[in-house]
């Protein structure tokens, strides 16, 4: 439980202009854990001491001096937030989401959360359902099923309040009396209409609203993209209703797979045109319309193994046969590989290799 006076300090540090989250968290760790002083004591140091003991450069020191002069103003804002029923949860609080901390770590976990509602939801098992903004009917049905399942299993749905799959998951979770977390793409004081809309659910303890940004920050594309990281961060499990091979959902899932997150993808019907199958190849776990895991058949399994194998480069048919210990004639393997849609042959010095097809790279890196 933090001393209320600390909130002004937390706010000043969290909103240092253009500081990477990692840098802010490192500074906080340095102050509280390594040097073991209070924020009050830290802010009383001179610029020289900051440069020396905390290895800060001139720009950073200037930023801190500026932040120091705003401390009193932050006090007023913090007080007003508390009066209006908001809570501030710093990263070192017991009430902070452990899932968020584990998933994002020092590099990206937001140092301060602004919340309103039932704080305990932050540490309940949680699920995010992600998908394209213009998802198909079947994807929406899937979303509803997952949300209903979550409500039944006492898992909280994490939503960004964005049009499409995201909002639908939230509405379904509420409809089935589950718990939900709304992660705002804007400051918490700018959400009046939302607070009105979900008033009864908040009062009943079913909905928690969270924002990581400055309380008065208006919506912007940048904040919305930023906020997606936190949706993934707050969820223990991710369900993908539908994804293209580029765009926000794709980028998020790919990043999650890279970080070995548990990601479930809806196995699409054979006539659907989306990248769900591709994601399964990349390591996402296929599920059916009800969110239950599906057995991967042998052919799919092989496709997955090939994807993994060839992700490091190109190989000959023989090398592939050996590494995967396939009991098949190289010639036959060659035919098979040629028929796959995600592999292409190439020639180097008249030797034949196989490699993964290039994907259109809208893989906008979400994370710095």
């Amino acid at each position: 439980m933090n001393d209320v006076q600390d909130f002004a300090y937390w706010m000043a540090l969290s909103h240092l202009p253009n500081w990477r989250t990692e840098k802010v968290n490192q500074l906080i760790v340095e102050i509280l854990h390594n040097q073991e002083i209070t924020f009050a004591e830290f802010f009383n140091l001179s610029a020289e001491q900051w440069k020396k003991a905390y290895r800060l450069n001139d720009k950073e020191t200037t930023d801190l001096i500026s932040a120091r002069s705003e401390l009193a103003s932050y006090s007023f804002v913090a007080e007003s937030l508390l009066e209006q029923g908001f809570s501030l949860i710093p990263i070192n609080s017991d009430e902070y989401s452990k899932t968020l901390k584990d998933n994002l770590k020092t590099k990206q976990a937001p140092p301060l959360l602004y919340v309103k509602g039932n704080k305990k939801i932050l540490n309940e098992p949680s699920v995010a359902v992600v998908g394209s903004r213009n998802a198909s009917e079947i994807s929406l049905e899937f979303t509803r099923n997952i949300a209903q399942k979550c409500a039944h299993d006492y898992r909280a749905v994490v939503s960004g309040f964005a049009k499409g799959v995201d909002k639908l998951a939230l509405d379904a979770s509420i409809e089935f009396n589950g718990h939900s977390i709304i992660v705002l793409p804007q400051g918490i004081l700018t959400f009046s209409s939302g607070f009105k809309k979900y008033y009864q659910q908040i009062v009943a303890g079913d909905v928690l609203v969270v924002s990581t940004f400055h309380p008065k920050a208006p919506w912007s594309v940048g904040l919305a993209m930023n906020r997606n990281i936190y949706i993934y961060g707050l969820a223990k499990e991710i369900y993908v209703a539908e994804s293209d091979s580029k765009g926000g959902t794709w980028a998020g899932v790919m990043d999650g797979l890279k970080k070995r997150r548990k990601i479930y993808v809806r196995k699409p019907e054979s006539d659907e045109k989306n990248a769900n199958n591709l994601l399964i190849l990349k390591g996402a776990i296929p599920v059916n319309m009800n969110g239950d895991q599906i057995e991967i058949n042998d052919e799919d399994n092989l496709r997955i193994q090939l994807t993994e194998l060839l992700s490091s480069g190109y190989l000959t048919t023989d090398e592939i046969k050996d590494k995967l210990q396939l009991d098949i004639e190289p010639k036959e393997l060659g035919y098979f590989l040629s028929g796959l849609d995600f592999i292409e042959p190439m020639k180097i010095n008249s030797k034949k290799f196989f490699r993964l097809k290039e994907l259109s790279s809208d893989q906008t890196e979400l994370f710095q």
Binding site: V4, Q5, F7, A8, Y9, A40, F43, N44, S69, E70, L71, A72, S73, Y74, S75, F76, V77, A78, E79, S80, L82, E83, Q84, G85, G117, N118, K119, L189, S192, F195, K196, Y199, Q200, I202, V203, A204, G205, K216
Partner: protein, 671 residues
Amino acid sequence: MDRTQAEQKLKQIFNLDRFYDDQWATIDRIFNGERILLIEKTGFGKSLCYQFPATQFSGLTVIFSPLIALMRDQVKYLQGIGIAAGCVNSEQEPEENTKLLEQAQQGKIKILYIAPERQENLEWLEAVRGMNLSMVVIDEAHCISIWGHDFRPAFRRIINLVKLLPARFSVLATTATATPRVAGDVVIQMGEDIHLIRGNLLRANFSLRVVWVRSEEAKMAWLGEYLQQVEGNGLIYTGTRVNTDLFSAWLNFVGIDAANYNAGFDAESRKEIEDGLLANRWKCIVSTNALGMGIDKPDIRFIVHTQLVQSPIHYYQEIGRAGRDGKPTEITLLYNPADVDLPLYFIKNSKPSLDKYFRIIDAVKQEPLGEHDLMRRTNLTQTQVRVIRADLIDQGIIKEVMYGRSKKYEYHFGAPELDVKPFEALRKFKLAELDKMVEYAESSNCRMDFLCRYLGDASVSRCGKCDNDLQQSHVMELTAYWQREIDKFLDDYYPELPVETRYSNLINGVASSYYGFSNVGSTIHRCKYENGGDYPAFLIKKTLRAFRHKFGNEKFDLVLYIPPTESGELVKNFAERIAKTLSFPISHNLKKLKRTRPQKVFQNSVLKRDNVKDAFVFEPHYAVANKKILLIDDIFDSGATIKEVGRMLTKLGAAKIVPLVIAKTIGGDIS
């Protein structure tokens, strides 16, 4: 900076030679970034303790004070000696407040006064983001404490704020009136590292006395005599607003220049009277305790209380405004042992019953509600809603949230159950304080010693000036002469009906009497609710006298009367007789459109207004176009009915509408 240097600057900026020791002790600690609670009597010079440091700090000093009059005076004074000062409060135009906040942000203002209700306005928050603050001052700091005599919920929030300020940030809390208990409470709330500086409370120039009386008439008589011989100008404090009207009218009747004042006046009228006070325009002003706080008049020569107040600390603060120039000052309390009923009533009714608390809690669980919506939903009075709201906020059960520009109340998830123990404790405490006040009145020992000791200063023992120390005792018996004068006065004393608004052609009307006076109320009650027949002749005569007194021989084109819900034709018959005597034509065409419920069922003005809205109609319209109308009813309570009819008639083209009624209630008379 040492004391010598500081005193040099003091001379330069404020043209004062030196600090008192307690002042310097305070200022020194402020420069050291400490937090201080300064308790000094009125006239000590507490303002200098923050004004001087403010001029020396690089950033802005913010002063929270409930005293708008004081703010204005202080800002004027500071600007006069070349210090950039401003104030932000609800009596100024929003544009002016905005401009000041901008200037503060730009560093163009050194000292900014704020009335605490300002704090939750988001505009202020926005502005504060950019301000460079050096010091926070809390004036009248006793307002923080529930155990004090003037607890204000808005001040509680300042405490939250002080707790959030970084350490080594100068905070000064000042007050003239804090019992040891209140001081202790303030210290705990502001953080235990606060340093307490307390001066002595003896007001050496005060002569305290108590005059025993047996009736209100005796008080009027005493005042008539006293004010003819006392020197200088002063204040008369009454217990109710009605009495400010009554006593000032009485004093003028016996030839004494008196004005009246209470919080029901609009801001402009109040300012006028405050200015008049400073200019000694009248011998005295008769007022509720709303007047005097923070007014910078050094030569108030006497203060008379016509009614027992709730506690010695209330008393000490109210009389504290007198004699700041140190010259001889007379302080009198008119005491009738039966007077204890009024403060007792306020204490017993200071908290509404528990079920009303739950009504409010249940309402906000459904949706966020503003104050008026709450009043509508729960049928509670504004005062009840405000008291309950303050308690619920205090216990963290509801929160006050800004929705755009309007304030609404939300139920806070995870809130604790309502805790009623503090209410009971507070009640007991207030009853004990009232007992202490009675003890003061009935004491035969030094009165100054009694008050100072109560406030934690045991140094006085004997002032040598109070009636007890001088072995005098004062009793006022009513003589036949005064009885006659008072009867003459009451005969001609007619309460005004304040109904004028921008939205109608209503003019302030008149009633023949207050409901509770003589036997007017009981007669009305008998006729209306006990089948006592038509209103008797003496009421008609009295009403006609009231009319003549205010309107003389003015002619009216038409008489209308409010059609009743119950009580049959009483008002109709009454109106007919009035119209006949005055020879004005009467019309019976003012009708009720919808069934309204009797106004007395509704506890608050919002519901009363809702009840009568669009409830009346008059046909044909041309009959009232451009006419002067006399509008008659028997009882005037909130005035909602008359205002609604006035509005409706104005829309139909009526030129002037004047209400005339038998009796005006003093809120709560009608049970």
